[in-house]
Subunit: 416 residues, 2 copies
């Protein structure tokens, strides 16, 4: 019931579709983050109207609350959250990282500390905290951690995570990995990567063991490439993980100390992944990064940015600096225009900047919904343009249309 077809290429970029038991995903695709079995502030119908194709929920969060047994009993995650389309579950590896090394080192997937909201872009779950005591212990067997909700003690093993994800029932599920920090040294990053490899093998075995008749073709398992920002480790990990019988591959973990390093990680890794399988970049989704990743052959990525930014009143706009229109700015107090001229989203078709600003100032719940709808639509519109540009062989032009003249230094394009 899974099939991945590449339909057109433009350089290393490709567009195609990933068919799942709950529908096809046109790639490159943005995966909306629905950590706790809901994309914050919006309904499934709104997501459909926006054009969202696939949602990623979180195994760590759903295991703690409300629990995978409950969700299975109620018919699985699709039915529980009323989302009939394709679903993914992240493994919890990043959450464990956030509670552990991420907390200890006070960093996200990329080391330099961004403003809070920016850091959020690299947070796969939403529980990134300031520097502090790690709440995690990793050993060969798995990882022990303290719940952020009630301080209770839990253990994840590669097998346990597969068992949980089987119960949740998402279409695409991810293996448990150990996500290292950009501040970890070579030796530790290598040790963690090797452990992640052994865990990948165990996860696959558990995935096959639990593939009874009913479940056999209903879920696809993706492996995760680790190795930090070290070239030989990333290459070794890409080679090893892609030698296993996964149905797709994700690139996870520390992506270095700068965006430049992140791009290097992609350049080292992607050429070693099989052509015929989908590639997911975990937790990355700035507009510049989307172009850079797609140009290097990424098919899917997830990111909390559009939804978290929205809730903070930062709305996507091509006219604004760094694509962010700060709607609470007094400047918009009496502005009758929509957030973005010409945007066809529900928010822009019906509401003024002045009204949105009022809702944020008045702390009204509708503010977060309208902002989230706009940001997701904006990103989906970008993805539609990206897919079309690849089909027409004009991705580089589209990139220029979107990014030229930006104050942020443009990321370098890949070698031709």
């Amino acid at each position: 019931m899974f099939q991945f077809e590449v339909m057109a290429r433009d350089g290393r970029a490709r567009t195609g579709r990933l068919i799942t038991p709950h529908g096809a995903i046109a790639t490159p695709a943005f995966v909306a983050v629905g950590t706790q079995a809901t994309v914050k502030a919006v309904s499934p119908e709104e997501l459909r109207e926006i054009g969202v194709q696939v949602i990623i929920a979180n195994t760590y969060h759903l295991h703690l609350q409300p629990g995978e047994d409950l969700i299975e009993e109620l018919g699985g995650l699709h039915r529980f959250m009323n989302w009939p389309g394709p679903l993914m579950t992240d493994s919890g590896g990043f959450q464990v990282f956030s509670l552990g090394a991420g907390k200890e080192h006070g960093v996200g997937k990329i080391a330099p500390i961004f403003p809070e909201e920016e850091a959020g872009l690299h947070d796969r779950g939403g529980h990134f905290k300031a520097r502090g005591t790690p709440l995690v212990r990793v050993d060969e067997e798995g990882v022990e951690f303290i719940s952020h909700l009630d301080g209770s003690r839990h253990r994840f093993t590669p097998e346990k995570v597969i068992q949980i994800e089987r119960k949740l029932g998402a279409d695409i599920i991810l293996v448990l990995d150990e996500c290292t920090s950009p501040l970890h040294d070579y030796a530790y990053t290598k040790e963690a990567m090797e452990r992640t490899h052994r865990w990948a093998v165990r996860a696959l075995e558990e995935f096959e063991r639990t593939a009874d008749g009913r479940r056999a073709s209903k879920q696809a398992l993706f492996g995760i490439v680790q190795g930090g920002a070290y070239r030989d480790l990333r290459e070794a990990s890409a080679r090893f993980i892609s030698s296993l019988e996964f149905q797709g591959f994700a690139i996870g973990g520390s992506l270095g100390k700068s965006k430049q390093e992140m791009l290097q990680v992609l350049e080292w890794t992607i050429p070693l992944l099989p052509e015929g399988k989908p590639r997911h970049l975990l937790g990355i989704g700035e507009i510049e990064d989307i172009f850079a990743a797609v140009e290097r052959g990424i098919d899917m990525f997830d990111c909390v940015a559009p939804t978290r930014m929205a809730r903070n009143g930062a709305l996507f706009s091509r006219e604004a600096e760094a694509f962010r229109l700060r709607i609470r700015n007094a400047h918009f107090k009496a502005d009758p225009r929509p957030v973005e001229e010409g945007c066809r989203c529900y928010t822009c078709r019906n509401y003024s900047r002045a009204y949105l600003r009022h809702l944020f100032e008045a702390k009204e719940l509708l503010a977060m919904r309208l902002a989230t709808i706009h940001n997701l639509f904006f990103l989906e519109e970008l993805m539609r343009q990206v897919r079309e540009a690849i089909r027409k062989g004009r991705l580089a032009e589209l990139r220029k249309e979107w990014l030229s003249g930006r104050t942020k230094p443009m990321l370098s394009s890949p070698e031709p």
Copy 2:
């Protein structure tokens, strides 16, 4: 452009329609509270689908934020908030009361202190605070008050409130009144009532003065009957206010120290109001109260109860005690049923109690939306049944179907 027709009667209850420039309202009607130019947690389209006919926004709140000049500049309140249907604005009298005597006495419209959520039922604006220092000074000219937002000083006069409401542009607007506390004595209640009467005359004059060509028939002005829980005062107020050229009448202010006293206020007042004009009961909306008020001839009422309860996780259900299903109760953890069996609202058609409970536990925004949709739908469904029952002369039976066997003592029916 305004017309009120009574189409059927059942005892003193009546059903009909109130035609406004933005559409007809079938009465008896529930008016959804949209204090800050949004009904908390839901969109205008959802309100339409639910069957909400009319929204009441608040002059006090909108004057402070974002200001009536801004709303006028942006095309008026309907366009600002994207609600094409009938709109009302409350005058701010109750908010002034809440900041003043209500705050000093620590009471709402009915004196005995209910649990917080219950007290909310009687709060027309949402800013009811614990007992404290009054922030209001009333004199003949008007009322001076301190903004709850920033401590700035403001003055409302009957004329000023009409000017604000002209700019906001709601279909039905209310005069400024002085809302007394159930703990005020006879002398003060009488003094305040007489001032409210003089204010009513001034408001009408200002309303006529500002009725230029464009505005002449676009808005209807309702007077407000005051007089506390004192029979002679309520009767005097009903006679005086109904002698003025208002297009409708609201019953406001203190409704006594018990529900029994509230019903007496209705019994004293309503028979003195003209038959051919609509009657609005301000800030009341418990299910028992709806029946009691409709049976006594009330056509409209507004209440924050359904929306505020929803946000607190109290969902309307005919099966539950006091019609409130506490969705956060552990009892519902794995309950696959909808909130209310047979309910046709969006929430009940698509989500289980278990999912709703999860959303509340996980503090997800969708929780409040789904709960609000259900509660408003439940109340609108009740109103549809009430209107039909009046047409069929079976309101008493409907009341029994809804209220018999309830643990709360039933309110007495009016004299036949």
